[in-house]
């Protein structure tokens, strides 16, 4: 078994070695400005998006934006929120998104780094916050983004509280960002955590889930590694009131989750039909 463990560790190191070090200078405001019209069209015509409450985000200075993550490997709500943030505050305001190692290491997704995507780890987040940037994090990550569609309105970070410690150490407020619609872009049947363990990608690739879904154009879609064509689900995002990090970690974590759950519940209550909105 030592041999297998060695191979897993070797493979893990190979993946880690390919994750680019965070370079905040890779964010390119002019590139973002060029891409905003296309993103805006997608948001308007395809996802019929609606973003509210951006005025609740502090007008300047570092802030940790904490969202619920939806949509498998094609998280439409992330694109819509990035568009909204850059439109509202201008592309000049530094804004970074923490993404899974595989996302920033995947050569075909290199352009995401120009939008401000950096590998999700505490060092990168701290670096961005110390530089005065707004940082978007999805604590639920690959665990939450792959939840079954019938749990689409449930906030589930899987107990990950690292974001609270991060905000406390950086001395920045947490602003919850609630969204609905993303988990209706495909029919997610399950996280496939047993499959992740079986394939050992939980140890090699830090993937806790290998989602099983019904999605275009594949039909039965296992892993979603190639992404999918999202259904044109209506995406609605609402920024919640800022939360100061002045209690213990569990209390702040509970407050953030409660705020997000209330926001998602409110937005879900406005929906009459899945996908259509």
């Amino acid at each position: 078994m030592a041999g297998v463990a060695d191979i897993i560790e070797w493979a893990r190191q190979q993946v880690i070695a390919r994750v680019p070090a965070a370079d905040l200078d890779q964010r390119d405001p002019d590139y973002i400005r060029d891409q905003l019209p296309g993103t805006w069209l997608l948001a308007v015509l395809y996802f019929r998006a609606d973003v509210r409450g951006l005025d609740r985000i502090p007008a300047d200075g570092p802030v940790l934006l904490v969202g619920n993550h939806s949509g498998g490997n094609v998280p439409a709500d992330t694109f819509v929120f990035t568009l909204a943030f850059c439109s509202y505050f201008g592309v000049e305001r530094p804004f970074y998104q923490l993404a899974h190692n595989l996302v920033v290491a995947y050569p075909a997704l290199r352009w995401l780094r120009k939008f401000g995507a950096v590998a999700a780890n505490p060092d990168n987040a701290r670096l961005a916050l110390e530089a005065g940037a707004a940082v978007l994090v999805y604590p639920g990550g690959d665990y939450e983004v792959c939840r079954p569609s019938w749990q689409r309105h449930v906030i589930d970070f899987g107990g990950r509280k690292g974001f609270v410690r991060l905000a406390r150490e950086a001395g920045v407020p947490i602003v919850p960002v609630a969204s609905v619609g993303g988990q209706e872009t495909a029919l997610f049947l399950g996280r496939g955590q047993w499959l992740a363990r079986l394939l050992m990608v939980d140890r090699v690739l830090r993937l806790k889930s290998v989602p099983i879904s019904l999605a275009l154009p594949w039909g039965l879609n296992i892993g979603d590694l190639l992404g999918h064509i999202p259904l044109p689900a209506k995406i609605v995002i609402e920024v919640q009131d800022p939360i100061e990090v002045d209690g213990d970690d569990q209390a702040v974590y509970d407050e953030v989750v409660a705020s997000l759950q209330a926001g998602v519940g409110r937005l879900a209550g406005e929906r009459r039909f899945p996908v259509i909105g």
């Binding site: 060029d34 019209p37 296309g38 805006w40 069209l41 308007v44 973003v51 909204a84 439109s87």
Partner: protein, 144 residues
């Protein structure tokens, strides 16, 4: 892309200008306004800057606008120095005794090549609606 809407109001130019030259009045009549903040200090005039964002489609669109023309009771023009490239103008002209023709004009251009052109065209309808509603709101303010 250039969008223009006109409206005749039952008030003289000075009465309309009194509203237009007061930055505090803008949130009262600009339709779909999402954010309005005065950046510069002092009385409004050429060089005054404001953060102006309209909700066009799903998200607020705009940026920092700088007043480039401030001709009392005649013309007020601005350009955007951040955000979507934009020029705007309000023209006041006599339309008979005690009446004023108000023209609200917006020229804008998104970056991004062909997608930018398509986005400009798609947005034009809502921009036009926003201008028309703003003029109606202005009329209700000056005619009370």
């Amino acid at each position: 892309m250039r969008v223009e809407r006109r409206l005749v109001v039952n008030a003289d130019r000075n009465a309309v200008w009194k509203v237009l030259s007061d930055p505090a009045c803008y949130p009262s009549f600009l339709a779909y306004l999402e954010r309005w903040e005065t950046i510069t200090e002092g009385p409004p005039g050429v060089g005054s800057r404001y953060t102006v964002l309209w909700k066009i489609g799903p998200v607020p669109v705009g940026g920092i606008a700088e007043v480039v023309e401030f001709d009392k009771a005649r013309d007020l023009a601005w350009i955007n120095i951040t955000g979507v490239t934009q020029r705007g103008r309000v023209r006041l002209r006599d339309a008979g005794p005690g009446r004023t023709l108000v023209t609200l004009r917006l020229s804008y251009h998104s970056d991004g090549g062909v997608l930018g052109l398509i986005a400009d065209r798609v947005a034009a309808r809502q921009v036009g609606r926003s201008l028309a509603e703003s003029l109606k709101n202005l009329r209700s303010l000056v005619e009370f």
